[in-house]
């Protein structure tokens, strides 16, 4: 065995992975060769120092307490956030939908005065949505489209049921609400006519006024 071959075995020897026969060969070479003897001894001693040395450095007192306090802070924040999203998430979605409907109706003041709008079922609500989508956005403060009011009324019902039904699709919600609806509700009337004719004087109706007034 020459020095180059011997040095290739150093790592395996230091890792204790050398077979007995190769270990014997290496040992024999080591006895004959001062250079390899010195090199291997240096590595062995370095390993002993690295293994044996006590760093004598330690964490500051109270490390566990500080750490656990951080864990508490983070987990309670996470729990609060999750709880908030569970409640606020669906509410926010409902609010967006409601606002979208309110923003889409035709604000031509007084146009719908006297008209009754009622959605009896999910198909009826579909039609309302479609009509509102086709209606231009109106200025703030103008008369409230009764179609929007009806959708708002349904929206408020939906909001109350959101936590229970948040996994349902919108149509499933509507079907559930339909089943819970008062069966004596009058048949629906839909404004079928185009918005034409002279605009009525402005009428600052608020949703609460109309909805609170009952149907």
């Amino acid at each position: 065995m020459n020095c180059e071959q011997a040095q290739q075995l150093f790592d395996a020897y230091l890792d204790g992975e050398l077979s007995p026969s190769l270990a014997t060969e290496l040992g024999a070479h080591r006895l004959r060769c001062p250079e390899c003897r010195r090199a291997l001894a240096l590595l062995e001693v370095t390993g002993h120092v690295l293994t044996a040395y006590d760093d004598r450095v330690s964490l500051k007192e109270g490390f566990e307490d500080r750490l656990l306090a951080c864990v508490d802070d983070r987990s309670s924040f996470r729990q609060r956030f999750r709880r908030a999203m569970y409640i606020l998430g669906p509410l926010a979605a409902a609010a967006v939908i409601t606002m979208a409907f309110l923003g889409a109706f035709d604000r031509n003041p007084g146009r719908w005065a006297g008209e009754k709008v009622q959605a009896k079922d999910s198909a009826g609500l579909d039609r309302l949505w479609q009509e509102l989508d086709e209606t231009a956005d109106a200025e703030k403060g103008e008369a409230v489209d009764p179609r929007a009011l009806e959708l708002d009324r349904w929206g408020r019902k939906m909001q109350k049921n959101l936590q229970s039904f948040q996994d349902l699709t919108i149509y499933q919600w509507l079907d559930v609400l339909e089943k819970a609806k008062d069966s004596s509700a009058p048949e629906d009337h839909f404004p079928g006519a185009d918005p034409s004719g002279e605009p009525e004087p402005e009428d600052d109706l608020l949703i609460e006024d109309v909805v609170g007034g009952g149907r």
Partner: protein, 202 residues
């Protein structure tokens, strides 16, 4: 070095997943010293090492749900700690690109032994070797520390460093070669002392 059976560790982890303080505290106490020692040797700053140690535990507890009990908790913890450490080293290097992060003399965190000739010589020897370790690259240094100080196998080290086993062995080989070169480059006097302390023939 504290260690517990796999079964006990699994139970602790299950309880820690439920945010049981007692279990988390026990896991911290079992692993904090070893982790801190490793991180301190990597980053060579007490405050940073403690910071990283805390971060590693926090991240480990935060993602306990995804921890697979087929591995040891220590392996996972060291992996997280090593990753954070590497990021910190990189950012230090980016800020102080002209400065060697690892000074030739330790920052005074090491305490000295008793004031006897023998202890002084032993302390000098240790200082020489550890200074040589400080001059290794981060992966080589991590490999040396985990292999010698924490007595981990190459397979475990490979998991922690997220490298193939062959790469770990390569790092170990190059680290040993580099350590030998650094120690051999010492002055003849220091080398004589080194030899006499290690019982080498002339």
């Amino acid at each position: 070095m504290a260690s517990i059976s796999r079964e006990l560790e699994k139970q602790l982890i299950e309880r820690a997943r439920l945010r049981e303080q007692g279990a988390m505290r026990e896991l911290i106490e079992l692993h904090k010293d070893r982790l801190f020692a490793f991180l301190w040797r990597m980053i060579r700053n007490h405050h940073d090492a403690e910071d990283i140690c805390q971060d590693a535990f926090l991240k480990a507890f935060a993602s306990l749900e995804s921890f697979s009990v087929q591995y040891r908790f220590s392996t996972w913890l060291f992996t997280i700690g090593y990753r954070i450490c590497l990021n910190r080293l990189r950012s230090k290097r980016a800020i102080n690109s002209d400065t060697d992060v690892f000074t030739s003399t330790p920052s005074g965190d090491e305490s000295s032994g008793e004031a006897t000739l023998e202890s002084r010589e032993a302390a000098e020897l240790r200082k020489t070797v550890w200074q040589a370790v400080d001059r290794l690259s981060a992966p080589q240094r991590a490999t040396v520390l985990l292999f010698y100080r924490h007595e981990m196998s190459c397979r475990e080290i490979a998991r922690i460093l997220e490298l193939p086993v062959a790469t770990v062995k390569s790092h170990l080989h190059r680290a040993r070669k580099r350590l030998r070169e650094i120690i051999e480059s010492l002055s003849e006097k220091e080398l004589q002392e080194f030899r006499s302390l290690s019982g080498l023939a002339g």
